[in-house]
Symmetry: C2
Subunit: 277 residues, 2 copies
Amino acid sequence: MNSGIERFSLNQQTIRQWSLPELVAGCTAAGVRYVGLWREPVRAYGLRAAARLVREAGLAVSSLCRGGFLTAADPAERIAAVDDNRAAIEEAAVLGTGTLVLVCGGLPPGSRDLSGARERIADALGELAPYAAAHGVRLAVEPLHPLFASDRSVVSTLRQALDLAERFPAERVGVVVDAYHLWWDDTVAGQLARAGRGGRIAALQLADWITPLPEGALLGRGQLGDGSVDLRWFRERADAAGYTGPVEVEIFSPALWARDGAGVLAEVLERYRTHVL
Amino acid sequence: MNSGIERFSLNQQTIRQWSLPELVAGCTAAGVRYVGLWREPVRAYGLRAAARLVREAGLAVSSLCRGGFLTAADPAERIAAVDDNRAAIEEAAVLGTGTLVLVCGGLPPGSRDLSGARERIADALGELAPYAAAHGVRLAVEPLHPLFASDRSVVSTLRQALDLAERFPAERVGVVVDAYHLWWDDTVAGQLARAGRGGRIAALQLADWITPLPEGALLGRGQLGDGSVDLRWFRERADAAGYTGPVEVEIFSPALWARDGAGVLAEVLERYRTHVL
């Protein structure tokens, strides 16, 4: 029953109606070996208790979401952001994951200076990468779809993410390949190969692209197979580039959140077998 | 009073509460010399009557929106789309504009094949370009923001638009540079220079990027100066690349449509002076 899902990881936002114990029990029952966690529910449950719960169930944490938001121009805000990322690094270490996902941040209020914002991200990575390495954690820069360029991430393409990451050693800064954010880009095949050559792929995430987008655009991701993304292509290209890590399904969808969690997981696994393997 | 707005063009969608006679009267009263027109309101008024109305008021038509939607895989749909584009070319010629804006089309239902869709666009351009040239009209490929890749345009970047356009002579196929669609892309400066060198810039359009996006994303454009786009940068770069044509303001905004048209135009012109000139 469980063949083929050895690399599958369930990002907890996909079934956020589940508490952490429900997530652990549900994944264990379904034969899932990896979970992707988010800081807020982990802290609400208690960091060390969460780490113990997951570890004792035999699950591994594929990634922790999320650090980042490193584009503030205001010095006090910048210091606060770097401090918060240090805390995220520590949390990742306690949870036993080597991957901290970074959503790097949009434009500060009133700013139109994209390249300045990107440079501030690079500066912050330089400050954080040694701290992360000392904790056995790699910073994973996630390019977000260009629709989020103003408010969530001025890093919009895999090329931009690699341009940032490659300023640092590969074991310190990698990239997240999320098919939802990158599917539209006809340069992504070449950039995936580049990422693989450099050992930069820290995580592979999947969700499908469906329209119409809801207000605010964030919570409009589709179940695997329901949309426009050739998900298998991404998995195959990442594999061909040498990526052997978990394949994390991260879907933000109120339609999925309104359903029974076990039913959602069964459907996600069936779609994973059909559209990803 | 009118200095500085010699190149300004009002796309009629910006004040779509105006009828065509109101648009012509409003623009004339404000000293505006160009209008960008859409096929549907022009046909509702009557093509030849609209052409006469605009011409007799001394206005020039900067562009006609829009042809395109050339990605259908179904042969009958494809023939219908090419026929419709031939009609759009004829309408552009009657209106006296040399620029037909093409929104090239998204993925056909159920398809995930972006490159196949892009090739079908190229095929259709090959079929349409001679017909357009015979009518004194240039096809203008508009790259749309990647958020529209699945349902409106698989051409998402200026590079992709130029890759398509450059398969044909520059006087037959150009590109539309719309800051709203391209602002997030850090390769756009180089592509603007490329477009200018090749004489490919057929139109320059402006709107600002604001969030949150509304449901469906289409009608969420911002008034000039209200958002994240460095509009002056786009105008200056286009100028530096040799573009001397109209600068068209095209904002889809229910907030602007709910207001008095003359007041909107006055505000747009004031913002244009502040943020574009």
